[in-house]
């Protein structure tokens, strides 16, 4: 049992990133909702095929907004993954809570596709920047990649994780680019004439 636990703990990789947007939290969180649908930016985030809202709930007492979205992503993997998986489409669930009172937005995205082999979880938080809470926003992002032990992928776990991580990093950079554009656009829109 200890051996499997040990193997299991070796098979998780976690990556953290932080980014500061020099825009207020209200604008950044609004930009996050628009990130995948913005037509100009669809070219950059072309791996995102469809985004559907499955559920939404507003708690009018606490000011908390809960949303569940389904993301369909085009995720062609390296050749050895494709031979096992045989498909290039990945479905993910994104669960979001926006706390209007404390000005905090948290998103958690997990894959549905291939859950038995690999679990990828991405957590993103948008909070007002502690040093400049009215004008800046901190984005903390943590991605964990876990190859299920004893699965078909276990023997090449390290390589798969590395490939996944690379892809995620690339997509994170693109995502930030898109967010910055949307924020600048929204800023220009709201500027006094």
């Amino acid at each position: 049992m200890f051996f499997f636990w040990f193997l299991d703990s070796l098979m998780v990789k976690a990556y953290k990133q932080e980014h500061v947007y020099k825009h207020p939290w209200e604008r950044v969180s609004a930009a996050s909702w628009r990130k995948f649908a913005d037509p100009e930016n669809k070219r950059i985030l072309s791996h995102i095929l469809e985004v559907d809202t499955l559920n939404r709930k507003l708690d009018t007492d606490t000011g908390k907004l809960h949303t569940t979205r389904a993301l369909t992503i085009h995720a062609p993997g390296p050749w050895f993954l494709h031979r096992i998986i045989g498909q290039d489409i990945c479905h993910c669930v994104e669960s979001t809570v926006v706390d209007g009172k404390s000005r905090s937005m948290q998103l958690t995205t997990k894959n549905i596709t291939l859950k038995k082999f690999i679990e990828v979880e991405e957590r993103i938080r948008y909070d007002p920047h502690p040093e400049n809470p009215s004008a800046w926003t901190v984005c903390s992002q943590e991605t964990s990649i876990r190859i299920k032990p004893l699965s078909a992928l276990a023997s090449m776990a390290e390589k798969v994780e590395q490939k996944c991580a690379e892809k995620f990093m690339q997509n994170s950079v693109k995502g930030r680019e898109v967010m910055e554009r949307i924020c600048r656009y929204m800023e220009a829109e709201s500027a006094p004439v």
Partner: protein, 91 residues
Amino acid sequence: MGLLKKKDSTSTRSSTSPCADLRTAYHNCFNKWYSEKFVKGQWDKEECVAEWNKYRDCLSENLDGKILTRMLEVDSELNPTKQADSKESSR
């Protein structure tokens, strides 16, 4: 393609969801409400209800049930406390 019931298993990336227009209408309404009301502290009532209902009805008719079940499973793992509520609001 995506979440939809598969008619053609080799569907290309260029096919569009039949609910795309309703989805856009709902998302546009939501984005407006979010920026103009929610972040300014106005969360006293649910808005975009008509748009949401139309969009959701379309999804119910077109969604691949198997994928949806798995999605809701993962969603309840992520949000164990709101499981009861989501069952109610998806009626």
